[in-house]
């Protein structure tokens, strides 16, 4: 081997090492960013099993804990972290004094009291790990979780049925039939995405109030049976990728358009229909504003999000309860996401790219 090719190899090896270091650094940096963005989830999970007392203390540990105590001779003493001879020991405070206090070593109580010079008020308490799982059971009862859950599921299921049926029909109409005004009508449909809700809300609310729908589920459910821009768009894009030859074969066999939709298009469009189902289910699950204004006086009919916001107003003095309640309302969408993350991601990609 000539010296020249050897040198070339060494240069390439060095470049390879540099590249590997860069990959490692960039990957670590990005995962740190991701961890920072998701860290609130961790704080929620930890807070949800803390005691009210722990949260109210400014420098309490990150993990759910209780102040450590030690029972001795029928009395309960608090345990503190005491610096003695440059070493920190966990000792139970048995006799408080202003300038010196007496402690007992819980691991070796027979040795008798240890005297320590200094003000015990400056000592840090010792903590032991104590997740308070009972928070969940308490919140379950306080917010009438079963009722809220039932309402949420019922609203989500009915509105999803309405959305899937209506959007499939409308998307099929736009994808497969030629009719005058199709282009402008489709543009109009898409334009509704950009319309501020407030500009249609007030007369709608007024009419619902007049006909007695306010305080019922009807304003939340009826509109879902008339299609919406996002889902029609998503389904239409998918329907257009299904070869027309297939519907033509069906129509030669004498199938009408509705039959073609049910027996040819729908079976092929399952990925898109699943996406619409999931999106709408999660959307309804997460919706707050619509149920808030239409069900404000009816706690029995409200879904989880409205119940959670009201719960926050009532129990803001106990953040642990709020976080436990929050955990209970996000569990279902998060689990759905974990199982169907691919469908979610593809659905979002489909609505974003075409534009």
């Amino acid at each position: 081997m000539t010296s020249q090719s050897l040198r070339a190899r060494r240069v390439m090896e060095r470049a390879d090492v540099a590249r590997k270091i860069r990959v490692a650094l960039m990957t670590i940096a990005m995962f740190a960013v991701v961890a920072a963005i998701l860290s609130p989830l961790a704080q929620m999970a930890l807070s949800s099993v803390k005691s009210k007392e722990q949260i109210s203390q400014a420098y309490s540990p990150v993990l759910p804990s209780d102040p450590r105590t030690y029972a001795h001779d029928g009395e309960t003493y608090d345990v503190y972290r005491v610096p003695i001879d440059g070493e920190e020991r966990e000792l139970a405070l048995v006799k408080k004094g202003r300038t010196e206090s007496e402690f007992i070593d819980p691991d070796n109580p027979g040795r008798g009291p240890i005297t320590w010079q200094g003000s015990w008020r400056n000592l840090e308490p010792s903590w032991t790990l104590a997740p308070k799982w009972s928070n969940y059971a308490e919140v379950w009862g306080l917010i009438d979780y079963p009722r809220l859950l039932f309402n949420t599921v019922a609203l989500a299921v009915i509105s999803t049925i309405g959305t899937v049926i209506s959007c499939t029909l409308v998307a099929y109409g736009f994808a497969r039939f030629r009719f005058p005004g199709r282009g402008p009508l489709f543009t109009l449909l898409i334009a509704t995405v950009f319309l501020p809700t407030a500009v249609t809300l007030i007369p709608t609310y007024t009419v619902y109030a007049q006909i007695g729908w306010v305080g019922t589920w009807l304003p939340l459910l009826v509109p879902t049976f008339f299609g919406n821009a996002y889902n029609v768009f998503l389904l239409r894009q998918y329907f257009m990728t299904i070869p027309r030859a297939m519907d033509e074969a069906a129509s030669i066999d004498g199938a009408g358009p509705l039959r073609t939709l049910v027996s040819v298009i729908v079976p092929q469009a399952w990925p898109a229909i699943t996406a619409v189902t999931l999106f709408n289910f999660v959307y309804t699950w997460n919706d707050y504003f619509t149920p808030l204004i239409y069900l404000s006086g009816q706690p029995d009919l409200q879904p989880l999000q409205v119940g959670l916001a009201a719960f926050n107003g009532l129990f803001y003095t106990n953040p642990a309860y709020i976080q436990a309640g929050t955990m209970m309302t996000i569990a279902v969408p998060v689990v759905l996401f974990v199982f169907f993350q691919r469908t979610f991601v593809r659905g979002i990609m489909a609505t974003g790219v075409e534009k």
Partner: protein, 309 residues
């Protein structure tokens, strides 16, 4: 010339007419829904602005001319709340447009491992209900929350995010990070759609990372950036639900979260003043429309559509 003119006059064949009838029949649910829930209410909102409709007052409904608009002109609370919305928009819009783009760029980079896991993790908060995410972030931003502990470690004396009128807006922007998931995915889809030949050609011309970004990636991504920008503008103008949940509609601290849409919501929902609420709604609509049209006009200069020369 004449051929083009007469094309529309050709009567539709029987087949075509039947096809059209079927088409209309299938989109009928949407047409009815559009009329009932969008077109007619929108027109009614406009009509309401000239009336005195209020759900809790017994006065007969009457035509009041421009009274509502006159009230709007002198309504200090409306304009100051519009100011709050604009101030928030100024801080939020750069974040909501640029951050998803940068994160997508990083996830898409060849120097990153585990990008599909990263994509899923970054998108995940998208499915967290925003009431829940507001409460989770509230816990994060309280005085001894994790954000302030982290700032303490690096030696910054942290602000009181939720009690300080100056810092509450940046606090709300931080909460908004959980709403960026969809934007990241859309940007990622856009980046994957850029033909690799463009980068090969740029490299042949000696372009480094920065010039490839400047002359290939950004122009090719401009339609996606424009799309996220328009959606973000429409959304930011309506922003108020997170502070509504956190501060129970009080506008705390010191009116710093009294957003325009909060004022609108309280006017029509709390005080049931439908006509004045409609006037506020029209103002919001007109502002959104004007800003959107301006952005469309300016977009001709920077948005590059493939296939258009």
């Amino acid at each position: 010339m004449t051929a083009i003119r007469t094309r529309r006059r050709i009567p539709m064949t029987l087949m075509a007419r039947r096809e059209a009838r079927h088409g209309y029949l299938f989109i009928l649910p949407w047409i009815i829904g559009f009329l009932a829930f969008t077109a007619i209410p929108m027109a009614a909102t406009f009509v309401f602005t000239f009336l005195n409709i209020s759900l809790n007052q017994q006065e007969p409904i009457a035509f009041v001319g421009l009274d509502n608009y006159r009230r709007l002109l002198g309504d200090e609370q409306a304009w100051s709340s519009l100011g709050v919305t604009f101030r928030f928009a100024l801080l939020w819009l750069p974040v909501v447009i640029v951050v998803p783009f940068l994160l997508a760029l990083a996830v898409n980079s060849k120097s990153i491992r585990g990008s599909s896991l990263m994509r899923v993790l970054l998108f995940m908060p998208y499915v967290v209900p925003f009431v829940a995410s507001a409460l989770i972030w509230q816990n994060m931003l309280v005085d001894n929350g994790w954000v302030n502990r982290a700032l303490g470690w690096i030696g910054i004396s942290p602000p009181s995010w939720l009690n300080d009128p100056t810092w509450v807006i940046p606090g709300l922007v931080m909460m908004g990070f959980w709403g960026l998931g969809a934007g990241i995915i859309i940007n990622l889809a856009g980046l994957r759609g850029i033909p690799t030949e463009l980068y090969d050609a740029a490299r042949l011309d000696g372009a480094g990372w920065w010039r490839q970004l400047r002359h290939v990636t950004i122009p090719m991504m401009s339609p996606v950036l424009f799309y996220t920008m328009i959606l973000a503008v429409v959304e930011v103008m309506q922003y108020f639900l997170v502070p509504l949940v956190l501060f129970n509609g009080t506008g705390d601290p010191a009116g710093a979260t009294r957003f325009f849409n909060l004022y609108l919501y309280q006017t029509f929902f709390t005080y049931q003043e439908m006509s004045y609420g409609s006037t506020l709604a029209w103002l919001l609509f007109v502002i959104t429309l004007v800003v959107t049209l301006l952005l469309f006009r300016v977009s001709r200069h920077w948005v590059h559509y493939a296939g258009e020369r």
